[in-house]
Structures are given as C-alpha cells and as structure tokens.
Symmetry: C2
Subunit: 341 residues, 2 copies
C-alpha cells in the first residue's frame, strides 16, 4: 500500500482534487495563477480566487522569520497571483492554526505585516477561521479578485515568435534565501547592505498589482503569469499551455547590482540563481513581437523601471533552451515536478 509521500504535488492534485466533471464555460479550472469564473455568464466581469497554504517547518522557521515579514509575505504571494491575471483584489480570508504557546506579541507583529499590505492596497479582510491547537503554525490564505474580459490574461495565449519578457531582476530572492540558510562558507564576508537587501527581497516580495492592471490593458500582452518557482520551472508551464518551446538569452536576464556583488563574494552563480531560484514574484509575459518596443517604452515611462526582453517562444514543443555567448548552455534545466495549482 503506497504512501502519500510517494506522489508529487502535481500527482496528488490530479488524483484527488482535479476530479470535477464538465466544468461550465464560465469556469477556468485548476492550473492558472487564479481560478476564474463568471457568476453571471452575461457579465463582462470575471471573479478570481487564489489560495495558498504555508506551514511552519516546511515553508518557514518560526524562530528565524520576523513575524511581520511572514504576515507580509503570506498575503503578498497571493496578490502576485491576482496581479498575474491582470486582476484587482476584492477581499482576503485568513485561516490560521496557532500553537497554544504562541506569544501574543508575535501575533501582533504577524497581524501588522498582513495589514501593512491590506491597508496599502485597500483589501478588506472579510473572513477566515482560527484554531488554537498544540500543533505547528499553519496559515491558509484566500484572496478574491475581479478582472474584466478585456483585461484578463492567462498562461495560455502565447504563440511562436512572441517575445518573453520579465518585469524585474531575477534571483535576488533565491540569493536572500541562501543568506538566511547560511549556505556556503563565505557568506560571512558578504557586504552587510547587500546582505540585508537580498534577504528583504526574499521576505518582502514585490506587489505588482498596478503592473498587472496596466499590462492587462495592453493588446501586445498575450500571456501572463508570475515567477514563483523561477523561470526554469515557470516558463515550461507557459510553454505547456501553448505547446511551445522557448529560447532564452542568458545575457538578457536582468540582474540586480546586489546579486552581482553576491556572486563576487560567494561561490554562487548569479545566472543560475536567476534561472532556477524561485520567489521573485515578478511577472513573466509573452508579448507580440511587433509591439514589444512600444510596450517596453510605455512601461518604462509609466513605471520608471526597466522592462526586459529575455527570449523568444519557439515551435520546439516543450524544449527550454538557454544560450550564452550564442551557444546553448542549458536544455530543460528543471524537471516538470512543480505544482500546477
């Protein structure tokens, strides 16, 4: 008799939860950043729902993470899913299981982190459930949102020749995690400001709701998702939905000044962190090649930050190739094991 640990998350979802038959047209099922449905088929408005669960020990270490950062991040990662559909959040629902020994001072800061985000983005917390138990700290957060027919974007929609773009530098969060976990012996010699900034990127990811709204209004944007697992894993998801391959030009991947210092002062490669490291929570786009220059120009004017083209979708179904100095240096760097939900 087999155990649940013999299955990966994707297999668990497929086997036990992706069993709904005959989904109506106005429902989009498991697989995109959010579920999308229309409560009224005649409406131009989609309702969005995303949910994410975090458990102590697996996703964070209680004594190590600042409770304010944990609150901030737990809602920020869900908002990233709403942004990745072009949507606007309408409410948050927070369920927690709390160890009974937890200090109220810790909870004060955790709550402050959540409401720092909710107040800034005007997201009402409308419900949830609270369990006080003797077990681990567990959070499950659900965010609802909405987006119009015109603005909604999916992972599906990319075509051969479309340009692959990202909205921010990659790898910082992964570098930050390595600092937190003290991987690598040379970490102590790292510049203190750089260290602090990279750790902050890991704990307080960007919230790209404005960017998602703006990009959803642009016809050049054909497909959209967020970068939660790293482009090595996330790009194959977009490829899969569109039966495409992708070529990435490594030199075009945006890197922060901080990660370059990190590379200099530690044994890690900035490019590999940028490609394989997750949790950057920038947006990944497929853009029509004829419109990419105009989009880039307008984006940079609107947000005062770089818009980066990093490659092209190809007809090489499911092959992700990474080039450096015009030679192929990697092929399908990640397995396809990440969670599709």
């Amino acid at each position: 008799m087999s155990k649940i640990s013999d299955l990966n998350e994707k297999e668990i979802i497929e086997k036990y939860f992706n069993r709904s038959k005959n989904l109506p047209d106005q429902c989009r099922g498991i697989g995109d950043d959010c579920a999308a449905y229309k409560s009224d088929p005649a409406s131009a408005e989609w309702q969005l729902v995303t949910t994410d669960a975090l458990v102590e020990g697996t996703h964070f270490i209680m004594d190590r993470i600042d409770p304010g950062d944990l609150g901030y991040k737990s809602i920020a990662v869900n908002l990233s899913d709403i942004a990745a559909m072009g949507g606007t959040p309408t409410g948050a629902y927070i369920s927690v299981a709390l160890p009974d020994e937890l200090r109220t001072g810790w909870m004060d800061k955790f709550s402050d982190g959540i409401f720092e985000v909710c107040d800034r983005w005007q997201i009402p917390v409308l419900g949830g459930d609270t369990i006080v138990s003797s077990h681990k700290f567990y959070i499950s957060m659900t965010i609802t949102g909405q987006v119009s027919d015109a603005r909604i974007r999916y992972r599906k929609g990319a075509e051969e020749g479309d340009v692959i773009c990202v909205t921010g530098p990659l790898g910082d969060s992964a570098a930050g995690l390595r600092i937190i976990l003290e991987v690598g012996s040379a970490m102590d010699s790292l510049d203190r400001t750089v260290r602090k900034r990279l750790v902050q990127k890991h704990y307080r990811p960007p919230i790209n709701l404005d960017l998602g709204n703006w990009l959803g209004d642009r016809d050049e944007v054909k497909a959209l998702m967020d970068i939660s697992d790293g482009i090595s894993s996330d790009l194959p998801e977009m490829m899969k939905y569109n039966s495409l391959g992708a070529n990435i030009v490594r030199e075009d991947i945006p890197l922060s000044d901080e990660i370059k210092v990190f590379e200099d002062q530690t044994p890690f490669s900035a490019f590999l962190l940028a490609e394989d490291g997750g949790e950057d929570y920038h947006l990944l786009l497929a853009v029509d090649a004829s419109g990419v220059d105009a989009l880039k120009r307008d984006f940079e004017a609107a947000f005062g930050r770089p818009f980066n083209t990093i490659g092209t979708f190809t007809d090489q179904h499911r092959d992700l190739l990474i080039f450096q100095e015009e030679q192929r240096v990697r092929k399908n760097p990640a397995s396809f094991q990440q969670f599709a939900g």
Copy 2:
C-alpha cells in the same frame, strides 16, 4: 508576556484579523455565516465566501473517522454557511497539509467523500493548495457562492415578535458524537440501528441549499443562520445582531425518534442535547408572525418535512429564556464565547 491560549477565538479575531478600516458598503464584514460583497455596486448579485479549517486531533481523530465521512463533512459544513445566506455555491477551493505517512487508500476515500457532495450539488473544485509534511492532517476549505439582493438573508433583520423556527430535529449530531466518544457507561446497550443513524447525523450533516434558496425567496423570512454550535449559542448570535431577547418553548423543539430512544437508553437528556449540542446544520430563522402559518404550510408541502416554530423574539435584550410546562427552566444557557467568524 501572554500566550495565545489566554485568548478565546473571538478575541483573537477581533485583535488580529478584524482590523480592516472603512469597509465599503458593498462588503459585509466578519460575523455572518459568509462574507458577502459586490464586485460591481450596480449589480443585483452578491458574491459569497466562507472558509473553514479542520485539524487532526482538535476536530477529528484520524484513526476513528472514516475518511469518506471526513471529506463529506468538511465540504458540507461550508455549504451550510452558503445555504444560511440563501445562496448557491459557485466553486470550492481545498487546501490540505498531508502527513507524509498517509496512505493513498485513505486519500482515495477522503476525495470520494468530497466529490460525492460536489458532484451531487454541481460544485466545481477550482483550486487549492497541497502540502506534504510530517505534521498533522490539516484541511482548509473555501466555498464561493452567489445570491441576489432579493434572496440574500443575514443574521440581522429579526424584530420583536418574530417567530423563531428551525428546519429539522436538533441534538442528533451531539448524541452521535457522544456515541463516537463513548461518553457514558450505558452506551453499549443502545439499539444498533439508532446508534448508527445518530453517528451518521454527526458525520454526514444535511445539505440545505434547496431550503436556503426557497426560504430566501419568501418575504416572511427576516433573518437566517445555520445551527452549528447549538441554539443555546447560535440564537444569542442572532439576538445580538438585532438587540433582541428570545423565549423558547422546550416542548416545541423538534426531536427525532432516534434521540428519544437514545434518551431512554442512556443517561442523557434529549432536550439538553438539542439545546446545547452543536453541528446539526439545520437552519434557524426569524419569521414574521403574521406569515408563519402560510410559510409553514408551503414549506411542508414543498419539502415533505416538518417546519418547526420553537419560540419568539422578545425585547428582553440578550436574554435567552427556555420554558417547559410554562415555567422558566433555563436562562442564557451558554456563555457568549463562541466564534463569530
């Protein structure tokens, strides 16, 4: 420095989660069976969201509960919240943290229990999150729904003189729980069919979506909620929202044949189980006195089951009085400690 276990659930919610400022008019906050919001203020349609979390050890015992029953119940209790607003479910989102030693056969049955409900009520499972960890089994389920302006009902809306009604016999689930936990020495002598039926009531509560829809269409129905904690606790919630008191006539509380046998063959009082026991998941209503006879007649014709009037709302603010043989036998039987979320 105080610990989280020094606070009750209501205090935790108030202190850490009920902090949203200036909720827009088209949002109804924490407190009712579901959160309700309008994504478009001009729309006649409310979006509903309810979420409920269960953790092994606190809410169920892994080796004792049938996994199919656990799946069934975990979705049924959320649907009860949708029914209690007059609503119709639009989607389910299921997050689970699974112990890595869990058997796949167990998960098969758990999933079957969930989809038995989802298939019967045509509820698409549209998302969720899955964590395989070494901790306890944890489930967090979110259900979205919708309901029109005309049909939506709240806990608020009752007035002095309104008749208090329930849609099914009370106490069966609490009796079932006592059988499961083997409370009371005489339990072994209990009739086997009765035992089985009461346990079933605890594990597979009724799903009253049809009733909720029907009642929401009736003008006589002024307030509505579900009975999750027992009328001793739930009725004070409805009283609180309306600044009312309530008088209950004990002899009018509906009891099943099974609970009468249970009372005969065990040391337990059927009335006390009916009043204080929770998890019946029938509906509790405030009905306009002038329309209650017509409503009862039509309900019984439509559903072929009794509709019970059990008391009256009074102007005795926050006093719940229970009468038997025309004498007051209980006053405010429950503290006001239950969770308002």
